[in-house]
């Protein structure tokens, strides 16, 4: 059984829950265009997530749940509507501003881990610190090592992704997402490629991070994993059909 070990993620008082790490989607539409074809992925989505919440987004394939995550992280831009995350309107930002903003505020965990194959676990975990201008020196190594220890990989620092199991790779991805102590952590099917045992371990990790004050939003199509969340938002055909008791 995986235990969340090592140091605890600590925050200063102004970084803790309830101080601008909430998420607000208002009237969001998203249309994908491929040649002459248009695909409307989101239709007038309104969603509010409080700081410190642990929210699961569920729905069938193609329902728009991953698109909601992409809109929250600024990876995709809404065709219409407004998006406010961690106190900032991100739908009006340029790509460069968005990249900087993401580096400072958001941690992302992908379904297929998406580690950089030429970097070791430690180097992958340091990467966002460098993007944010904090990558040099012992402090960065210390922080990244701490995050890897936090996910139970203190003994795998110099391993390349190809030398790690799927579960270990996903934990490196979590450690990487924590590098800049993000206010919001989003995970897109974080356990999609893992066996059920390892999937539970990863989910426990996300729960522990949320307990320490991080707003966590994740997408899953597995009802068992949705149970870890405080609130489950259901999406279908680009619309939210159940807000899971949103205030």
């Amino acid at each position: 059984m995986l235990r969340v070990t090592g140091r605890k993620v600590t925050r200063s008082s102004n970084e803790t829950a309830g101080t601008g790490s909430g998420i607000e989607l208002s009237g969001v539409d998203k249309v994908y265009r491929t040649g002459r074809l248009e695909y409307r992925a989101l239709r007038g989505v309104d969603l509010s997530i409080e700081a410190g919440e642990l929210v699961a987004i569920v729905g069938p394939s193609g329902s728009g749940k991953s698109t909601i995550l992409n809109i929250i992280t600024g990876i995709d831009r809404p065709t219409a509507g407004a998006v406010t995350v961690a106190g900032e309107r991100i739908d009006t930002m340029t790509e460069e501003q968005l990249a900087a903003w993401r580096g400072a505020n958001v941690g992302i965990v992908f379904q297929f881990f998406q580690l950089i194959p030429v970097l070791t676990a430690l180097e992958n975990a340091i990467l966002p610190l460098e993007f944010n201008g904090n990558g040099a020196g012992a402090t960065a190594v210390e922080r990244a090592t701490g995050n890897l220890q936090l996910v139970g990989l203190g003994d795998r620092l110099d391993h390349l992704p190809a030398e790690l199991s799927g579960g270990e790779q996903q934990r490196v991805a979590v450690a990487r997402a924590l590098a800049n102590q993000p206010k919001v952590l989003v995970a897109d099917e974080p356990t999609g490629n893992l066996d059920s045992k390892t999937a539970n371990h990863v989910m426990e990790l996300l729960v522990a991070l949320n307990r320490d004050g991080t707003t966590v939003v994740y997408v899953t199509h597995d009802p068992q994993l949705a149970r870890f969340a405080h609130r489950v938002v259901a999406v279908q055909d680009g619309r939210i059909i159940d807000r899971g008791g949103e205030q």
Partner: protein, 803 residues
Amino acid sequence: MSTTLNRKALRELKQHPLRTLLAVITIATAVASVWMLSVPRTLDAGMDNRRELDAAHTIRLFPDNLRYSGEGSEAPPAAAVISPTELAALEELPNVDAVDSRPVWWTKAQIGGRPIDVWLVGVEDFDGQRVNAVQVESGTAPADGEAETLVDSSSVRTGRLASTVGSSVELRAGDAEFYEFTVTGIGGTVELNPSAGDETPVFYVDAEIVRLFLAATGFNSIEVRVEDPAAVEETVEAVREHLQRVAPDASYWRIADVVRAGDWAGREQLDRLLPLIYVLAAVATTSAVILVATTMSTVIRGQSRQIGILKAIGASRAAILTGYLRSGLLLGGSGALLGTALGVLASGTLARYAQQQLLGIDPVSSFDLPVAFAGAGLGVAVAALAALPALRRAMKIPVRAALDDHGTGGGFDRSTVDAAIAAAPFRRQMTRIGVRNVTRRTSRSLAAVAQIALGVAAALAFGAFAITGVAVSSDTLEREGSDITVFGEMSLLEPEAVADIETLDGVAAVQPTVDARAEYSGGRLTIRGLPADPIYEPQLSAGRWFTASEVHHRDTVAVIGAALAELTGATVGHTIEIAINEEVREVEVIGVDQSLVQDGTYLWMPLTTVLELEGLPAPPMYWVQTTSSEPVDVDRVAAGIVDILEQPGRPVTARARYVELEAARREDRVVGGVIQMLALPILAVGMIGLVSAMTSNVLERTREIGVLRSLGARSRHVRRIFRAEGTTLSIAGWLVGIPVGYGLAHLIVWLFGRAIHTSLALQFPIWLVFTVLLGVIVVARAALRPPLRRATRMQPGMAIRYE
């Protein structure tokens, strides 16, 4: 099934337009590089065309047939008048198509306040020219009997003369006075206009004006055009026999000029460059083939998953192969078409430049059908064949593995190379990623390195060749030692008058010399007569220089140039036979000179011996060494010499050698320019290889770029990663290119040396190696811009979803 697969292959080409375009451009570059081989043929065609238009001569004879009758002039020794009737009789000889004659004279023109050497060429009748017809390219021909001139277009085109139609120019007459002429036109004829090796400007005037200038009658140039150039040797003999019969006492001021079939002025210089062009074409084609093979491999590599799907649903091996081979053929066909267009354009531009700058003719274009077939065939064949190994590899991938291949992989592991790269202490993660990425696609990186290496090798080799050429040329020119060459234009200088030159301020030494033309079994050569202690510094590789005693006794001994030694097989102690003034002499070889005066075909003999062989009572020419080599000082001394020696009716030339040096350097620059332009396709292919590899990497790592952007990477971070990768490939290519370039430099210097029958010492300075590195980095940065722009402009969402 196969029809559907064909449709699929076609649609995939449309689906990935950038990749398809890159493949087509790559193949096109390979095809275009083959077109380099068409340049010499286009030059040939241009000259043939121009020679036909001008009715250029096949045989030209130079009789001493101007009879000076003006006041103060002296009749030339042993001059015999060949009458117009006797001349016209030449046309009755077999194979003679047309005969023409003209007076020509070496004189001076006042240009920009300073006299320069020019040829004055007389035309009997501008409306009825039979041989070497002067073409009027702009303006009009000079009118009969008027002080009007047509300036040669080569000198105008190359900027040696700034004359325009309507401007005026001062030309010096036999009385040493300058007379003003109006420039009525620009043009000329290919065999008389300046060309490589003799850049003296030419002024065409009415023949009567030349005679008037010299107070002379007659002509000193007979030009014969034959019907069948292949039988020119027999015609030369017939012409000589005829002239011997009708004018037995005629002497000739220059050896006959015979243009053999396919020959033209400057052809010899071009032939020397041919081996270099073949080497360049071979290197360019090799580089291009590597590039095409890599591109096709990349295209097929990206299809692994598709092939897996096709195999999973039961497609046969043959059906899959046929479909992809058709894609290869389609890419090859498109590349061949584009490459042919590019090749025609590039080789046409190069040929045009060479025709104008080297040959001084109006450029013509020609479509080289054999090269077109070779290029297009290469494009199609290489594209199809290059796809086969990649296809075979792709077919061997198990279906499951192929289905899981998203084309993002590529290994980086614990192998020795990867471990060494991983241990490199890069401070920045981006640099680390970029450098490590190099080994993720080993074969692609190796191909890019190979192409850059070939580009670097070509730049180094041809740079070293140019440096070697300039060094040899400068060394040769410096060895000649004199700053001014002095000679009487119509009569020999009096030795007593020459003695006065030595008293001039700024004169360090004066030395008599004489040049004579002769023939040996292998062709023509020049004999130069010098004293026992010449200003000239020979570079003896064997034997010795002649002694004062040998000079005193007029011994027939000689120091021969290295090329002449190789051509005749003679060395110290041997004798060679030469024909001078129709008389065969045996000359004993006492030394071999390595310097490249006259390309190493000189024969140095005692001054006294040559004067005797030529039947001259006194030296016709003097070398003057000045105390200062500054042009202003040399000009001042030259003007002083003319003041001392020149008398009415006896013009004197004091030619400053720095002008020749400038002309030689200008020629070096033009030849160097052509060689560099020839080397450009290799560099272009190398850089396209880099762009191709980097674009493929960017495309393949699109999702990775999306992830990096999602993690907060700014444009500069992404740029840094790919720039580090590109720079690593470039530096690796540079490192590999150094030994290859060194070997290639040796090869081309050896080939060139073989063409001029001598050996050249290669110059390969270290600064050249680092200059090329700088160039590679600068060009690589420019070449990386398009893939980098693509990498940084991707929206993270689209990048992550990219397949």
